[in-house]
């Protein structure tokens, strides 16, 4: 049973939430005005708000093109994660020789930062002819180890008897994944979708390395390019930031409850 004063708890939570949201509010406030963020004393409410900074961002650089590139790459990464991770996780729920070694290898791979593997990743991508392409941009994020383990814990929570029954009914392994395990693992799917989307959406170094044409650049690269043009702290820069952030926030808000359930799925087992 919970103890304490409910309104006090809520008041504290509201204060903490407000403190965490303040930077986002400040970015939005600067984007809809032309105020200097270093102005003193700072104004809490926007003065003469207008949408023209967003219009500038849309037209001064090829924003629609960057947006399209980011959407395509993120969709590829999301589809890759949802499908490939499910297959890998299903394999890890089966019994086979050296399973622990495979898990250990996967976990140890998580310790290696992406920057350390970027040269071999580049060489492989170049060898298979995917440089400067959407698939090449999404390639390193088509499957991520963290998301494999999120699926694995979700699949392990499904009663074994259900999978065995499906197998006795003649379902193939692939259909067991798609018709039995995935429908029962929606929080894990949501977690995969959100993480894959946000990671690919924010990815900067990989697109910077493998894109050669400006037409293939994604939004984070566009933001860096925009920053090089607009060096002062104008509202247009913050409008760009808002436009880059908005899709990620939207996807998170749409799937937040399932996302949290997916992340805490294995934590409460047993």
């Amino acid at each position: 049973m919970r103890r304490g004063v409910p309104w006090l708890r809520h008041a504290v939570l509201i204060l903490v939430s407000a403190a965490m949201l303040l930077p986002f509010y400040w970015v939005l406030k600067t984007a809809i005005t032309d105020e200097n963020i270093y102005a003193y004393p700072p104004r809490l409410l926007p003065q003469n708000p207008h949408p023209y900074n967003f219009v500038d961002v849309w037209y001064l650089i090829p924003f629609p093109r960057y947006l399209l590139n980011s959407i395509v790459v993120s969709l590829l990464a999301v589809v890759g994660n949802v499908v490939l991770n499910a297959m890998a996780a299903y394999a890890l729920t089966q019994s086979f020789r050296a399973k622990k070694l495979v898990i250990l290898l996967l976990l140890s791979c998580m310790l290696i930062p992406f920057q350390a593997t970027i040269i071999p990743a580049y060489l492989i991508t170049a060898r298979i002819g995917l440089l400067n392409s959407y698939l090449g941009l999404a390639l390193p994020l088509l499957s991520t180890i963290v998301c494999i383990f999120i699926y694995k814990s979700a699949f392990e929570a499904v009663p074994r008897s259900l999978v065995e029954a499906a197998r006795m009914d003649g379902l193939s392994e692939w259909r067991i994944i798609t018709h039995v395990l995935l429908p029962l693992s929606r929080p894990a799917i949501a977690t995969n979708v959100i993480l894959a989307f946000i990671w690919s959406w924010n990815s900067f170094m990989w697109p910077l390395i493998i894109t050669r044409d400006a037409d293939m650049q994604t939004l984070p690269l566009g933001l860096a390019r925009f920053l090089s043009y607009m060096e002062d702290t104008t509202g247009a820069l913050y409008a760009f930031v808002c436009l880059v952030l908005a899709p990620g926030i939207l996807v998170f808000l749409m799937a937040q409850s399932a996302f949290i359930r997916g992340l805490t799925h294995g934590a409460t087992k047993g």
């Binding site: 207008h50 949408p51 023209y52 219009v55 500038d56 849309w58 037209y59 001064l60 043009y229 939207l250 749409m254």
Partner: protein
Amino acid sequence: MSQPRRRLHPWLLSRWVIVPAVLLILVFGWNLNVAMNATGEIRGRVVGPGGQPVPNATVQLFERSFVVNTEKQRTTTGTDGRFRFEGNASHAVQLQAEAPGLGKSERTTLRLLFRAQDADLPAPLVLKP
């Protein structure tokens, strides 16, 4: 015998369908609005220091790029001091008027919601000696 009622598939009522659908409708509506109001016409008025309309004043239209404003068009005002530009392709322009003997106006920035938006200058260009 009554027919069983057809129910919508639950996925159609999920937020993953509704939110993108609403966004698509908004984008379509906005583009429709743009298509109907994007002939690039900019109208305004030039007045003298006393507020009287100035005929035959020259009005310049500058188009904004990243760091510079480049002159793209110029026109002259009518007998009522009014002017009109056609075919503006920018989303942010500056306007300045000049008349012999009456001086120049300050450059006025006109920011638009989209490229080639039809717009009226909210305040007249005031010539100053």
